[in-house]
């Protein structure tokens, strides 16, 4: 496979085995924004003018201008997200995810990727010339805020003629930019994808950055930031900072798999050099970084992250309440820099706005760096989420399971519904499309989650036993728990959480008191049936109950039974007097009120 260079000669593909060609050769463009008569006023009040922005685009903007996706890069990224750069043929930092047929499919989407303000790869930053002095800014460059990045991104978008993005997407610091933008100007986007990010760094996060900055600023060649005027740059300090940060980007298992305790290739006698492979790798990481990154940008951009705390502002959610954005928040279970706790913090903070949120924790071993990689579960999630609004399909009523039809009939049109154990989102898809409801599912099976995402159902990958605290009090009208109470570890805790989250509860539960079950036990064996299809030792059903025992628990939790629908062993609604139901019903649906 080969691609045409601009000069017409064939150039080998950087990965000849890739299933899809990349976006080909690309050039970084440059545009000057904020002329003297229209300065950029930073959050700090300082004004900047004549800001140069480096950016790239991939794919084609369609006529309706509705297929644009904006990509925000991380701390040490740049505008070159995909393809081979015309200048030096280097690949893009997000080639794994951006390209024809890839998760961010350039056959479908028009992708915009700039270098951010304060950066050092084409956009104005502290290494740029201070117009007042004619020398590099150094530490005289004004301190930046996440909002300042957004201001520049919006100006660039206007320049490119994009008023509203199909999605704004970013990982790590990039995800924080997405979050700030979605909170401040939700009308600018349909979807927001926030990957491996944080809305509030922890003391430990800040500590790692602080030591990196110390290392740079105590370097003998730092010269108070004016090192450009001297023969040397603070290489040693910057390399140490990079090496240390790099440790935090990989998980411990990833390090173990990559290096274990093997010796470095060029290691001779034991000593204090690079004896182990991991040491030689880190040396290389530090060294390679010096060629492409500026110590001052490292200080400025890392400091923006330290101070980022968007939900602390009064009324932070007001705009989002008026203009909901479809959020997709993604974390990786081996990420210990901005791990799942950070992403769950974002979800918790967004939830009171009522904006639709999809949340996933991807099983990936590469730590924080996972966001750069083509991990199928992750790239499928992005692909399906980005395409969902195009491909939502109606669920015909007759494909809905019989018991779910009865559940649906109990839910008033227009309700806000939380469906615990939503599976592929059948019930919610039906309610959203036919009953003007909105809602969110909770599911742990990762294939089911992906199906729900593909059909546009907001879904959260959470553990019902321990993570329902994510949902604010009274944040839903109805909460549904269908054939799941028996499979949770702590039924009382789950019901208590449901009661807190919504005023109406719908619970469906298999009946251990069903006559066939009684007869089987009478015969000395553990019951099995269509409703309880498993062997005693491998059943996911951890807590069995008969209907009266279930009703006792409801009463104990002050839950009133407003409706009660016994179902036959084939899950068909049957008319049964209450007393007979415990004998004859295979399961039952309860509508409960608080």
């Amino acid at each position: 496979m080969s691609v045409k260079q601009t000069d017409g000669t064939a150039q080998p593909h950087h990965d000849a085995n890739a299933s899809y060609p990349g976006v080909g050769l690309v050039t970084t463009h440059s545009v000057a924004l904020f002329p003297a008569e229209n300065p950029l006023t930073l959050t700090s009040g300082t004004q900047l003018t004549n800001i140069t922005v480096a950016y790239e685009t991939y794919g084609t903007l369609n006529v309706s201008r509705g297929n644009a996706i904006f990509v925000c890069h991380a701390l040490t990224g740049d505008a070159h997200a995909a393809g081979w750069h015309t200048s030096d043929r280097r690949p893009g930092w997000w080639d794994e995810l951006i390209g024809p047929g890839k998760a961010i499919d350039t056959n479908r989407w028009f992708v915009v990727s700039p270098n951010l303000l304060g950066g050092c790869q084409g956009t104005t930053g502290p290494a740029s010339e201070n117009p007042d002095t004619g020398t590099p800014w150094g530490l005289d460059f004004p301190l930046l805020h996440m909002r300042d990045f957004v201001t520049l991104h919006r100006e660039l978008s206007h320049q490119l003629g994009v008023e509203r993005y199909h999605a704004v997407v970013g990982g790590s610091l990039g995800g924080m930019q997405v979050l700030q933008w979605a909170l401040d100007f939700p009308e600018d986007m349909v979807n927001a994808v926030v990957i491996a990010a944080s809305s509030r760094l922890t003391a430990q996060n800040i500590a790692f950055s602080a030591v990196g900055r110390q290392s740079i600023m105590t370097d003998e060649h730092f010269h108070g930031g004016q090192f450009a005027a001297h023969a040397h740059t603070p290489r040693v300090g910057l390399a140490i900072a990079r090496m240390m940060a790099h440790i935090t980007y990989l998980s411990e298992p990833a390090f173990a798999e990559k290096f274990g305790r093997s010796s470095a290739h060029d290691s001779s006698a034991p000593g204090f050099g690079a004896d182990f492979a991991v040491e030689s790798y880190l040396d290389h990481q530090g060294e390679a970084f010096l060629d492409r990154f500026d110590a001052l940008s490292y200080l400025y951009l890392s400091r923006v992250m330290d101070y980022f705390d968007p939900f602390a502002s009064l009324g932070a959610l007001d705009k989002l309440r008026a203009h909901p954005v479809n959020f997709c928040v993604v974390s990786f279970n081996s990420d210990w820099r901005f791990g799942t706790n950070h992403s769950r913090g974002i979800v918790r903070a967004l939830a009171p706005s009522g904006t639709p949120i999809t949340f996933r924790t991807i099983d990936a071993k590469w730590g924080h760096d996972s966001f750069l990689m083509d991990i199928p579960e992750y790239s499928d999630t992005l692909r399906q989420f980005l395409r969902a609004s195009e491909q939502r399909y109606p669920v015909a009523d007759d494909t809905l399971r019989a018991d779910l039809k009865r559940v649906a009939a109990l839910i008033p049109a227009g309700s806000k519904v939380l469906d615990l154990g939503c599976g592929e989102g059948d019930l919610l898809a039906h309610l959203i499309q036919n009953e003007h409801c909105n809602g969110t599912g909770v599911e742990r099976d990762s294939l089911a989650v992906l199906s729900a995402i593909a059909r546009g159902v907001p879904v959260m990958e959470l553990d019902m036993d321990t993570q329902l605290s994510e949902f604010p009090n009274d944040s839903f009208d109805v909460v549904v728990l269908s054939r799941t109470l028996q499979a949770v570890l702590h039924p009382v805790e789950v019901l208590t959480q449901m009661k807190r989250i919504a005023g109406k509860l719908i619970v469906t539960m298999p009946n251990f008191g069903y006559w066939r079950h009684r007869i089987t036990l009478l015969g000395g064996h553990m019951p099995r049936s269509k409703d309880l299809p498993y062997e005693w030792y491998d059943t996911p059903n951890l807590h069995h109950s008969t209907l009266p025992d279930l009703e006792s628990l409801f009463a104990q939790l002050d839950l009133k039974v407003a409706r009660y629908i016994p179902l036959s062993a084939t899950a068909q609604p049957v008319w049964l007097p209450h007393r007979a139901a415990n004998l004859l019903a295979g399961s039952a649906i309860y509508l409960l009120t608080v």
Copy 2:
């Protein structure tokens, strides 16, 4: 409270609220070992002579010389483990645990604490004078191995007249010294306490140390290690190394609790100084460290840890097989430097030796630094473990629960027994004391674990559902699972593991088919009885079974029923024909063979 100074004046106690006075004022002693005619041959083959060792002792060696405890310090520790130093009144690094009435009780034990070889606080190290040149060794000091520390510790012990320690105790690098010593000279100790240690650093562990060393060695004032001859030391590099290492000593929650995102007291305008409290704390940590530690010792001692891999040696366990040592391996659940995985690695590696092992994971939020603190669960564990061999008490047969008596009767004298869900160790204590058995319990309830430790029963705090892989194949004669199978999440997996670990299995299980249970369900309610005393929704019993259903599972797993003892609802053995048992027995004991 006050203590007498040596000059007779009263001096305020360093913590006036402490329940116990400390060990009082102490002096560091110094002794010269390995004279020219008897040099120390290092593992590397290099010889050293006239080694000065700094050490302290607390408490009094008794006449039988059987009450000595040797304490090994961590990377940056020193000989001053407890009390107030006569020179500057500074407290000891392990005052929390060493003192009269404390976990390492100086009223009872005679404690020896040296500064280790290569250190910089009184013992010969790279900052000492090289006799060949008359100048400090610098990087000409020979590389060290964990074994070299042990050689020096043993020589010091002979000097002090201690041939066998009641215990050798250490945390972190100290724990590694204990492990090496116990493997090489198990006859030197009764007990070995290995806290928050590792037997094999991961690539990530090495990476953190490597960046710290890089920071020191790239400091402009390092001068190839000969900085003593210059005006400056590599202060900046050493401070950065310390700051970074310090982040890894604390857990993220500990950082959050200590600092959160609060501002530094002296913070003025935002910038690149110590804006956040955590930054100012780290600055202080780096600075304070410079007064007491030498950059070269940091290089040498950290490198010993990188290369430590004692179980990789052929026959590493041979000596321990001949001379069992009672091990107590302790980790802290928030430690991410040498966390529970490292301690479990040590347990797994020791297990094939058959040496008795007690293993605990202490719930503590302070990360790796937890080993320095007086956390009740932790200090109680040390206290009870150290005292256990003195206070073992026999369990009179009649205090043993009726069903356990029947279980005990099925176990041949002299067997090696693994008791899963051992509680306070009643069964094992009985078997060990009356039947010449040896064995280990597995338990998760932390109070029960402590009771077992107190009576000298080796016990491992493990999760039965996921962590039985810790035990090697066929490492026990009999494995017992008493009234616990119904409470595990994965009964099949647990039975499969049991089958792998021992040739004989004893399983006791409540019978869901007991006639009262059948009648209750026939009446439409979930059963409760003495054997199943819980409500359906809060029961720890997740998998119910009748006796025939249980027997089907045994058959499916190729487990043969060698004996079968039905018990009445009051857990008394009853004679019942097999068919009647499922109706009339409240529970049953099975002896199974593979």
